[in-house]
Amino acid sequence: MISYRLNSRFAAALALAAMLAMPAAAQTIAITGGKVYPVSGPPIENGTVIIVNGKISAVGANVPIPAGAQRIDATGKTVTPGFVDASTQLGVQEVAAVNDTRDMSARGKDNIAASFTVWEGLNPNSVLLAPARKEGITTFVIVPTGGLVSGQAALVDVVPGTTTDMIIRAPVAMVAEIGDPQSVGLGSRGELIVKLRELLEDTKFFQTHRDAFDRAQTRPFSASRLDLEAMIPVVEGKLPLLVSVDRASDIDAAMRLAREYNVKLMISSAAEGWMIADKLAAARIPVLTGAMNNIPAGFAALGQRQENAGLLRKAGVQVALIGNAGGGDEEAFNVRNLKQEAGNAVSYGMTWDDALRAVTLAPAELFGAADRVGSLRPGLEGNVVVWSGDPFEFTTRAEHVFVRGREYTEKTRQDLLIERYRNLPGTHNSPAPR
């Protein structure tokens, strides 16, 4: 009898463990009555979104609701894909002024760190993840910073667990910064291009002379073996090169180099992108930028203006918006302001539909993850947000946030602080630990 009871308890514990591992994910959820923006197709009045086992199973106006589904009444509300922030250091930077919590940059060799995979430093327990998710960000692209070639970016979902659990796709881009020669110890803009050219040349040579390299029979290369290995998909045109750059002529220089080496180019920041919007559109080069910067903040950004994102889009450029694009050290905390960027983009000339696309499907497409996230289509991850109104408006709240089919309602660290100090003087042990 004793052994039976133990076994029974053991079995119960196993069942409990299984439940904890995937609680709501196994559920069927039906979001009904809302105005649904699939983004991949036209909006649906009084639409329904069904999520089964973490994935979207149906989206439409007349969708049967599976028996036993958990129903979310979205009448009068807006339903969109989870928002995707196209470029952030969220998860690899906790407290900007505390070096021990900064993992977005590699020293590399001679300012080249192509082999740096920034997601190795991703902290799934970052307290900054929940505030972002609470405001509708379900997915983001972690982008390494610094140096000439900063490393590789990854696209991840805001889910608990491990880095492996979070990753949707990695790498999604090789990142380079070519705006500021001084910051990488070079003399001029042209020399930056020379360095990049040398790296591309060496990569191509390395690719076809690996044996010679292993026998130490090649000339010295400008980058380490692992960096050259990492650059191979870039010269093969398989992995985009995401170049952070502002001045129009620098963007143009990057475009010339990319054309010469058949590199798939993406531009981020792009303060003066609007000046050569037609050329970017013709070359089908997408741009990642914000919509709240208008200060000639340096000689490379004299043409910075809030209309940039709208003008680029109007010219036919694929645009993805970046949350808190003008922000400084608080950037990771304010990724949640992606919706504010989108609202300002609309205010300065982008259509509302394009702005929604720029925070959902556009970044998913650019980073090769449109089969997983960024729109509401059957088969995609159950990343869905129910908004109380226009998602870009300040009075609107993300009322339900689903990531991979699970609704997140956890209190953020900020919620706990507010609970404690809501009624002063506050109590040292409130809220009670769970």
Binding site: L302, T395, L424
Partner: protein, 430 residues
């Protein structure tokens, strides 16, 4: 007494014409919103506000259907001009980081009137700015209050009659800057530094007050730094204290009691919500961000509901920027904070939130009798918004300072371009 105003304002109001905006929603910051109301600007002043106003025969009449008017926005924490665009070392003039206590420096001596950030601020509806020294130092120097107007000199931008401010800074910045340069290296070192400075200032003031009373013998030797601190002790200079943490703000309050000066406002104050009761009791403002946080240890406990909580506790909330970009959209910052309040059951009305942007910062600068609300007799610093100013889709359409139209989004000829922008910046803002 030494000359108290050696760099006097030469500001002269720009030409204005009598203007009526009618059929407009008026957020007055002095009472409930007047829907479909009207406002009359005459001779640089607000002549009338109400459901209707008499339009003089010569008045320009603007139909404000669907639009809003508010007082000009006031940012009490700006570094425009002292950290001018396009930036770089040549224009980095905000921190005299050569000694932890520099009360002798005046921000106005660093202001570049051709900073292209000024016109952008005006286009964001900001009509008055307090430009402060940075926060590297325990005592950073004097601030200056500017009207956001074109001027060949900083004197031409100075708000006539405005009191100076004194910038002080708590916490991480001074100890980071001086930790390896002779100190202070710790927070206790910071506090010792403030107290040492105030001890000298009290003594300096005593000598001068005595000499002013009896004129016996030679006047005491002048000391620029102590002159500023003595004026703060006399209440003629308002103390603006950069301070993030609740415990440090409480210590700064004790220091102010020890030496007999008043702190006008705590700036950044991300933990103000932990001591809203204390701030209310002391009558100290909280000049805060909507959502900045987490960028350093002392900013770790930032909550978006800070403004709503502090307001609820009865202390004065001021939406500040410390940022040339955020300063252009202080209305949006307030809107984010309003929503954070609503989320925790502390809704903030537009009538209240407009005060955070106007009359409260006007009070922080000691100018609430002149600006900050739409009331007859006050300076005609007015913004006409394309819609509800707390919507992400609204922008200032027209901005008047002292009744003069200085910005018009619909008319490029009414858009100020600084000297710097000529040739360098290849477009007109709209």
């Amino acid at each position: 007494m030494p000359n108290a105003d050696p760099f006097p304002s030469t500001y002269v109001a720009f030409p204005s014409r009598t203007t009526v905006i009618r059929n407009v929603n008026v957020l007055t910051a002095a009472g409930p919103m007047i829907r479909n109301g009207a406002i009359l600007l005459q001779n640089g002043k607000i002549a009338a506000v109400g459901a209707t106003v008499e339009a003089p025969a010569d008045a320009l009449v603007i139909d404000g259907a669907g639009k809003y008017v508010t007082p000009g926005i006031i940012d009490d924490h700006s570094h425009l001009g002292v950290y001018a665009a396009p930036g770089g070392n040549a224009l980095s003039d905000g921190n005299e980081a050569t000694s932890p206590s520099t009360p002798q420096v005046w921000a106005e001596h660093s202001v570049w009137p051709q900073d292209p950030q000024f016109p952008r601020n005006l286009a964001g509806g900001v009509t008055t700015l307090q430009v402060l020294p940075g926060s590297a130092n325990l005592i950073g120097g004097r601030s200056v209050v500017l009207k956001v107007v074109p001027g060949r000199t900083v004197q031409a931008m100075k708000f006539p009659g405005a009191k100076y401010g004194l910038k002080m800074a708590c916490g991480e910045n001074p100890k980071r800057v001086y930790g390896q340069r002779g100190g202070p290296q710790t927070r206790m070192g910071n506090v010792a530094g403030y107290r040492a400075a105030w001890i000298r200032a009290v003594e300096y003031r005593r000598k001068w007050d005595k000499w002013n009373a009896d004129h016996k013998g030679d006047p005491p030797a002048r000391d620029l730094g102590n002159e500023t601190l003595a004026e703060a002790l006399r209440g003629n200079i308002l103390v603006h204290n950069h301070c993030y943490r609740a415990d440090e703000m409480a210590q700064m309050i004790d220091i102010s009691h020890e030496f007999g000066y008043k702190i006008r406002s705590f700036h950044h104050a991300v933990e103000a919500y932990k001591i809203g009761d204390l701030l209310a009791k002391e009558g100290i403002g909280a000049s805060i961000w909507a959502d900045w946080g987490s960028f350093k240890m002392e900013a770790l406990d930032a909550v978006k509901a800070n403004m709503a909580l502090v307001d609820h506790d009865g202390a004065r909330v001021i939406v500040h920027s410390d940022d040339p970009s955020g300063s252009q959209r202080l209305n949006q910052e307030a809107a984010k904070a309003m929503e954070a309040g609503a989320e925790i059951g502390l809704p903030v009305s537009e009538d209240q939130a407009i005060k955070w942007l106007t009359i409260n910062p006007a009070w922080a600068l000691g100018l609430d009798d002149k600006i900050g609300s739409l009331e007859a007799g006050k300076n005609a610093d007015v913004v006409l918004w394309t819609g509800d100013p707390f919507s992400v889709y609204s922008k200032p359409e027209k901005v008047w300072i002292d009744g003069a139209l200085l910005y018009d989004r619909t008319d490029p000829s009414e858009q100020w371009r600084t000297d710097f922008e000529l040739g360098f910046v290849p477009f007109n803002r709209n």
